[in-house]
C-alpha cells in the first residue's frame, strides 16, 4: 500500500510542481536518447527562461504520432500543443492540422528570418500552410579513412561518380577480399530513397518520368554490378552507423542522422563526402521537417511562440551545433558546427555546393498513399537485384503501378520532374 502512495505522490508532484503554463511538444525527430536529452536540457530551457512556458518534449515513432493526432482530432480535445515531424509524416494528416498561413505571415513580418521558398511551398498541403519549415536533412556518404588507400587513381573524392564508386569498391574487394560497400537494405532502412532520389535522378534526370526508359535499364544493370561489392549483411541493417563503427563497412550511404553516430564516436576515423553523380548529374534528396499545430491543440498561442523560437536564426544555429540538424532560414545557413559534427557538416556543405546537383524532393500530394510510392521503388529493387528478374519486365509492370498512383491521386510529379 505504501508503495502505491509513493507512486501517486510522485505522479501528483510531477503534475503540480510547475504551476506555470505547460505545453507538450511531440516529435518524430530528435527521438534518440542522447538527442532527446539535449532537447530537454539545452534547447527548451532557453525558451522556458524567456517565456515562462514549460515544454514537455515527447518523442514518438511515426505510427504513434499519426494515430494520436487523428484520435485527438476526432475527440476534439488534445494534449499535443505542437507537433514536429517530417514532410512525409504530415501528408496523410492534413485534416488534423491548423492552417498556419497567418502565423507564417507574422513570422515573415518579424523580418529577421527568410525561409527557403521551396520549403514553404512544400509545407502548403491541401491549400493550407500545414506546417512551418523547421530543419532540413539529406543523405550522403560516410567513408572510413582506411578506404582512401584504395581510391582509384585520379578520382576526386568530393566529386565522385557512380563509376568511381564501383571501381573503388571493386579495388577494396580485390585487395582485401571483403565487400566493404554499405547501402542499408534492412526492413526499416531508407533504401527506397536511394533508388528514387539518388539513382534515378542521377541516371535518368528524373524520379518518375523516366522510370521505365532505356536509361533506367542501363541504370539497373549498373546497380546489379555494383551490388556484387555490397556487404551481403546489408539486408539486416537499417542504419549504417553501426557497421561503419564495427568496420564491416568502409563506404556507406545513408541519411545524415543515421550516419552521425559513427562520426560522433570516432571523428578522426571518418570523413563525409557528397553522394556520387551519374550521367545526368548528382541526384540528392532534401528532407524537410516542419512544425505544425494540431486542430485539437490545447494551447495554440504557446505553440506559436515555440515555433517563433525554434525558427529564429540563432536557435537554428544552436540546433545545428547541438545535434547536426540543418537550418531552413537563410540567415542561419553557412555557419558550421565545431567538433565531431563538423565532419558531417563539411560533407553536407560540399554536397550542397556541387555544381551538377539535381535536387529531388519526396513527393507531396499523394496523401495517405505516399507509402505506395516508396514501396514501388523498393519492390523494383528487390525484384531486379535480389530476385534477379528480367529488368524490362519488372520496370514495365512497376511503371504502370507508378503511373496509376499519380493518375488516381492527381498529385504533381515531385521535383526535379515537374520543374523540367
Amino acid at each position: 500500500m505504501n508503495g502505491q502512495k509513493v507512486v501517486i505522490a510522485l505522479l501528483v508532484c510531477t503534475v503540480v510542481a510547475s504551476g506555470s503554463e505547460k505545453i507538450t511538444f511531440m516529435s518524430t525527430q530528435l527521438v534518440p536518447i542522447a538527442e532527446a536529452e539535449w532537447v530537454r536540457s539545452e534547447l527548451l530551457p532557453r525558451f522556458t527562461k524567456e517565456t515562462g512556458i514549460d515544454v514537455v518534449f515527447v518523442g514518438a515513432g511515426y505510427g504513434e504520432f499519426a494515430d494520436r493526432l487523428v484520435a485527438e482530432y476526432k475527440a476534439g480535445k488534445g494534449t499535443i500543443a505542437l507537433a514536429g515531424g517530417l514532410h512525409g509524416d504530415y501528408t496523410p494528416l492534413v485534416r488534423t492540422l491548423t492552417d498556419l498561413s497567418k502565423e507564417f505571415a507574422d513570422l515573415q513580418a518579424l523580418g529577421d528570418r527568410t525561409f527557403i521558398p521551396a520549403f514553404v511551398e512544400l509545407g502548403r498541403l491541401n491549400k493550407i500552410q500545414a506546417y512551418i519549415p523547421w530543419t532540413q536533412g539529406t543523405y550522403l556518404m560516410v567513408v572510413n579513412k582506411m578506404a582512401l588507400d584504395y581510391l582509384p587513381e585520379g578520382v576526386d573524392i568530393r566529386a565522385l561518380t557512380y563509376d568511381d564508386l564501383l571501381a573503388w569498391a571493386k579495388n577494396i574487394y580485390e585487395a582485401t577480399g571483403d565487400k566493404k560497400l554499405g547501402i542499408p537494405a534492412g526492413p526499416r532502412s531508407l533504401l527506397h530513397r536511394f533508388v528514387h532520389g539518388y539513382l534515378y535522378p542521377s541516371f535518368t534526370g528524373y524520379q518518375v518520368i523516366k522510370f521505365d526508359s532505356p536509361e533506367a535499364i542501363k541504370m539497373w544493370r549498373f546497380v546489379k554490378e555494383l551490388w556484387q561489392y555490397v556487404n551481403p549483411a546489408v539486408a539486416t541493417w537499417d542504419a549504417m552507423d553501426t557497421p561503419l563503427l564495427s568496420g564491416e563497412v568502409w563506404i556507406a550511404w545513408d541519411h545524415g542522422a543515421r550516419l552521425k553516430q559513427a562520426i560522433i564516436e570516432r571523428p578522426d576515423d571518418f570523413i563525409a563526402i557528397p553522394a556520387p553523380a551519374g550521367p545526368r548529374g548528382r541526384g540528392i534528396i532534401t528532407v524537410l521537417a516542419g512544425l505544425a499545430i494540431p486542430k485539437a491543440s490545447p494551447n495554440p498561442e504557446a505553440a506559436t511562440r515555440l515555433i517563433e523560437f525554434l525558427t529564429r536564426p540563432q536557435t537554428q544555429v544552436i540546433i545545428l551545433k547541438g545535434v547536426g540538424f540543418f537550418p531552413v532560414v537563410k540567415e542561419a545557413i553557412g555557419t558550421a558546427p565545431e567538433g565531431p559534427l563538423k565532419v558531417l557538416a563539411d560533407g553536407v556543405m560540399a554536397q550542397a555546393s556541387s555544381k551538377d546537383l539535381i535536387t529531388a524532393f519526396i513527393p507531396s500530394g499523394l496523401g495517405t498513399r505516399s507509402g505506395e510510392f516508396s514501396k514501388i521503388y523498393r519492390d523494383t529493387f528487390v525484384e531486379i537485384v535480389v530476385k534477379r528478374r528480367p529488368i524490362r519486365e519488372v520496370l514495365s509492370r512497376q511503371g504502370r503501378l507508378l503511373k496509376r498512383l499519380f493518375q488516381e491521386t492527381g498529385a504533381p510529379y515531385p521535383p526535379p520532374d515537374e520543374s523540367r
Binding site: K77, T242, S246
Partner: protein, 272 residues
C-alpha cells in the same frame, strides 16, 4: 532397467539444460553488452567478455528523462492489471468450470473473440473514447486495456484449474455448514492458489511487455516499454543493450518470487 531409467533421466536433464540455455544465453549476452565500454560494443569480431565492466552507458540511460518514473508506472500498471484480472478472471473461470448455464459454450468462445481484433485496428477509436471518458493518459486507462488483453487467457487457465479441484471437497464443506461462497473462499480458492499464481505471472508479463496500447494511450504517464521503445530503436547500439537489459530485470525478479507457487502446483500434479 536401471540403465534405461538413468538414460531417460539424462535426456530429460539435457533437454532442460537446452531450454535453460535457450533463454539464458541471450539475457547473458545483453547483460554483458549493457555493461561493456561503449567502443567495445561496436568491435568486430565481437568479444563475448568485455575487457572491463563499465557503468557509463547504464548510468546515462537511468539518468535520462523519464526512465525511473516510467518504470514505476509500469510496475503500478502491471499490479493493477493483475488485481483486476484476478478479481474478474478467477470467478469467471470458476463459473465456467462448475456451472452448466445456457450459452456456456458461446461464452467460452466469446472470451477468445476479444483476441481476434488486433489492437492496431482499434487504436484510434480506443484513444478517442478514452479521451472522451477522461481515461486518456492515466494509468487506470492502460491497466483496463491490459486487463482486457489478459482476461481471455486468465479465464481459460482459471477454468482448467477449477476443474482440477474436486467438486466433492466443496460439497463436503457445504454439508458441514459452509455457504456456497464460503465453500469457494475456504476450499476451492486455496486449492487453486498455485494455479492462480501462474495466471498472475502470465498477466504480469502481458502487461509488462505490452507497448502498443500503452504507447498510444499515454503522453506523460508512460509505461517503461512505451517510453523507451521508440527512443531505443533510434538510439546507438549500446543504449539499446542497456535498455533491453533494464526491461528484462523487473520481470525476472517478479518471476523469482512467484516461482515457488508454480513449483508447488507442478509438484502436486506429479504426485497424482
Amino acid at each position: 532397467m536401471i540403465e534405461r531409467g538413468s538414460r531417460r533421466k539424462a535426456l530429460i536433464y539435457l533437454a532442460a539444460l537446452m531450454v535453460a540455455l535457450w533463454v539464458l544465453v541471450p539475457i547473458l549476452l545483453i547483460g554483458l553488452a549493457a555493461f561493456s565500454p561503449k567502443d567495445e560494443v561496436y568491435r568486430w569480431p565481437k568479444s563475448i567478455i568485455p575487457s572491463h565492466f563499465s557503468l557509463e552507458t547504464m548510468e546515462f540511460f537511468l539518468r535520462s528523462y523519464g526512465v525511473i518514473p516510467s518504470l514505476l508506472n509500469s510496475i503500478w500498471v502491471a499490479l493493477l492489471t493483475l488485481v483486476l484480472t484476478l478479481i474478474i478472471g478467477a470467478p469467471a473461470g470458476y463459473a465456467v468450470a462448475r456451472f452448466l448455464f445456457r450459452g456456456r459454450e458461446s461464452f467460452r468462445l466469446g472470451i477468445l473473440l476479444t483476441r481476434m481484433f488486433p489492437t492496431a485496428l482499434l487504436a484510434i477509436p480506443l484513444t478517442t473514447t478514452f479521451i472522451r471518458w477522461g481515461l486518456y493518459d492515466t494509468l487506470f486507462g492502460v491497466a483496463f486495456i491490459h486487463t482486457a488483453m489478459a482476461l481471455p487467457f486468465a479465464v481459460i487457465i482459471a477454468t482448467g484449474i477449477f476443474i482440477g479441484v474436486p467438486k466433492e471437497l466443496e460439497e463436503a464443506a457445504m454439508v458441514m455448514g459452509c455457504s456456497r461462497l464460503g465453500a469457494f473462499m475456504r476450499v476451492a480458492l486455496p486449492l487453486a492458489l498455485p494455479g492462480l499464481a501462474a495466471v498472475a505471472m502470465f498477466t504480469f508479463v502481458i502487461s509488462w511487455n505490452e507497448v502498443f496500447a500503452a504507447g498510444i494511450l499515454t503522453v506523460h504517464n508512460r509505461t517503461l516499454p512505451a517510453h523507451i521503445l521508440t527512443t531505443l530503436q533510434a538510439s546507438p547500439l549500446y543504449f539499446r543493450f542497456a535498455g533491453g537489459f533494464f526491461m528484462v530485470i523487473p520481470a525476472l525478479i517478479f518471476m523469482f518470487f512467484i516461482r515457488r507457487y508454480l513449483l508447488h502446483m507442478w509438484g502436486a500434479t506429479a504426485e497424482r
